[in-house]
Symmetry: C2
Subunit: 383 residues, 2 copies
């Protein structure tokens, strides 16, 4: 990730020794996303260890123990921690000082995200996440090794659903049961947490539904992107952070406007990387959207503006697992129809809009700077 200023390893105001963006004193101390992950991951790991210990020590069975402990391995294997980071940025930008407790609270956002990933991977029949086995894939291998009986695939999915449910429960408990902040701040922040949870579930309902439609109405796709990406990844984490620092924060409209731009760009980048990304860097297979019949900017572009031949060929492959040579053909369709070029321009347009919103805002200067770094990292992101 790009950095401004020089990166130093110092004991900073947040009380954690880590390389950080150096501003001229006496400005706010703010981590960039990479630095944040270094600080945040041990807190996340510690939370999971405490939680999981209770369950695995309650179990006399080796397999159950291993299965439970695996969920920690999966969570720590990857992930950008973008949602807790965004909450942290807005918490700090709104004058929040209790970073240690704020990060402990924002662990709930990452646990919630991992709940969503665990359930998503079951719905999408994904066997890898962050380059390691998903929960059902891990369980299935072990059940087969142990020569268990019955519909083992169904049992493995069931265990995935349940581990997801546990993560969900812990995220809710961690956020709604928190006692480290004034009640007024917590209540205000919690309202946005509730909204985020409902919106993500509803957005995913739309997502699943859209993928079964031969043609998807544009407003359904827009609703899905707004709920599943803009609101979930940006708007709500911003508001959660802002209201935790200041229950009377009046930044809701700003968060919505900025988050919408970032959300559209982020979703389109995701969809673009699914076409042109490097599976090794992504740590997952590409062209999954085609296999899963996902309507995206890029598929819609071809279906609307492609040649008759391009449309017919894409339609033929839409919703199917592709062989290597078919994958090449599909990528060529996206390139030759100019879908990729137009998509890249659209991403850039949204990121530039986001930059303008930040520059014209009343955010503290160092917060503006850290947001612009984040946007730059989104522009060049490869996973």
């Amino acid at each position: 990730m790009a950095q401004t200023g020089c990166s130093l390893s110092v004991e900073c105001a947040h009380g954690v020794r880590v390389g950080r963006v150096q501003f001229s004193a006496p400005r706010l101390f703010m981590y960039n996303l990479q630095e944040f992950k270094q600080v945040f991951d041990p807190i996340l790991k510690n939370f999971l260890e405490q939680r999981l210990k209770k369950f695995s020590s309650n179990s006399s069975d080796n397999f159950i123990k291993d299965f439970i402990e695996y969920s920690e391995k999966l969570t720590m294997a990857g992930g950008k921690r973008i949602r807790p980071y965004i909450a942290y940025v807005m918490y700090t930008a709104n004058g929040g000082k209790d970073i240690q407790n704020a990060l402990k609270l924002f662990v709930s956002l990452e646990i919630f995200h991992n709940f969503a990933l665990i359930h998503d991977d079951i719905m999408d029949k994904q066997y890898k996440r962050h380059g390691v086995d998903t929960i059902p894939a891990f369980v299935l291998k072990r059940l087969k090794e142990e020569k268990r009986t019955g519909d083992l695939e169904n049992a493995s999915n069931a265990q995935g659903i349940l581990m997801g449910d546990l993560f969900f429960s812990w995220a809710m408990e961690l956020f709604l049961g928190n006692k480290n902040f004034p009640k007024e701040n917590l209540n205000s922040s919690q309202n946005y947490f509730y909204k985020m949870v409902d919106e993500l579930c509803f957005g995913q309902i739309l997502d699943i539904d859209i993928a079964t439609r031969k043609k998807a109405k544009k407003n359904l796709i827009e609703d899905k992107t707004r709920l599943k990406t803009s609101r979930y990844t940006f708007v709500r984490p911003m508001q959660i952070g802002a209201h935790l620092a200041n229950p009377n924060s009046n930044m809701d409209a700003f968060c919505e406007e900025l988050g919408t731009r970032l959300g559209i760009a982020f979703q389109m980048q995701d969809d673009l990387l699914d076409i042109v990304g490097d599976p090794k860097i992504l740590e997952k297979n590409t062209l999954r959207d085609i296999a899963e019949h996902q309507h995206t900017f890029f598929t819609d572009y071809v279906f609307e503006k492609g040649t008759k031949q391009q449309k017919e060929k894409l339609l033929k492959y839409f919703g199917k697992e592709l062989k290597d040579n078919e994958q090449k053909e599909v990528i060529e369709i996206f390139e030759k129809s100019r879908a990729i070029e137009e998509g890249k321009l659209e991403i850039l347009k949204n990121l530039n809009e986001a930059k303008k919103i930040i520059e014209n805002s009343l955010l503290p200067e160092e917060c503006k700077e850290i947001c612009l770094i984040l946007i730059e990292s989104m522009r060049i992101r490869q996973n």
Copy 2:
């Protein structure tokens, strides 16, 4: 359900007009389970309507609207409301007076229970619940009618998982976000709610795991019954009710002891009804435990104490969907091996233990009476 005293329709102390058990004045007013359901269901229905309205009014699509509204129909189609009832009994027994707000809070127990049922039915591949379609069955029919594309079964299950997630979220929010009781009471009660959620998920993890084992260790089965039935259906709802009324309640050991007896009896009754129950009254098919390779008291009894022939025959059918004549054979095995007779005795033994625990307790007399009515209804229950 059996009733003591005469049943009158009056405006009672709880402020709701309903037939109720008449005690000699000036004793506590307490509903029996049937009466409770009459009072509780409108509150439950109202909560769901408020929640679902938000989502369906947000959607421009008829199918999405119908799908969301269906989850209310499913919830209201059946269910005994035993968990909120038990919380209510212990709340009242511990001096709780704010019945209206307590029932609103205990709606969360029933919403949570419906979350669990929705996810369970997916894991067990059940298409009927309370005599109507489960969520995936409803969605699948509609997707087929609308001639949607792709793996529609997977999409229908995904919608079930997500609707379950939404129910889970609402249950947590309703309980943990409640503001109608003193903070001390709520905090005390919430601790048991957290435990209940975790225990149910972990109990279900054990349940799924046990069903894949050719032989299940006895302690794993006992752990499962303790977590999934004793704790979930009895112990935790009792403690939630008791601590909501009195945060310093010292009834935890009593709840554990009583709940364990009731839980074992309840689970065994469930397993017994799965063999000898009437599918019409149960509103579901019988012999599902055999089909799903579930180790129960009854299967274990045959495998341990049956004749060689009985063991071999049951093993042959264990984990398979049975034809009509095979079903008859299996029922005969359970009868002739004396598994059913011994099971009935065991149920009775546990219910009698529970009665003794109640009779020897310091509960108010009218609470003892209502608990004994509940136990009697458990003894004769047919669904």
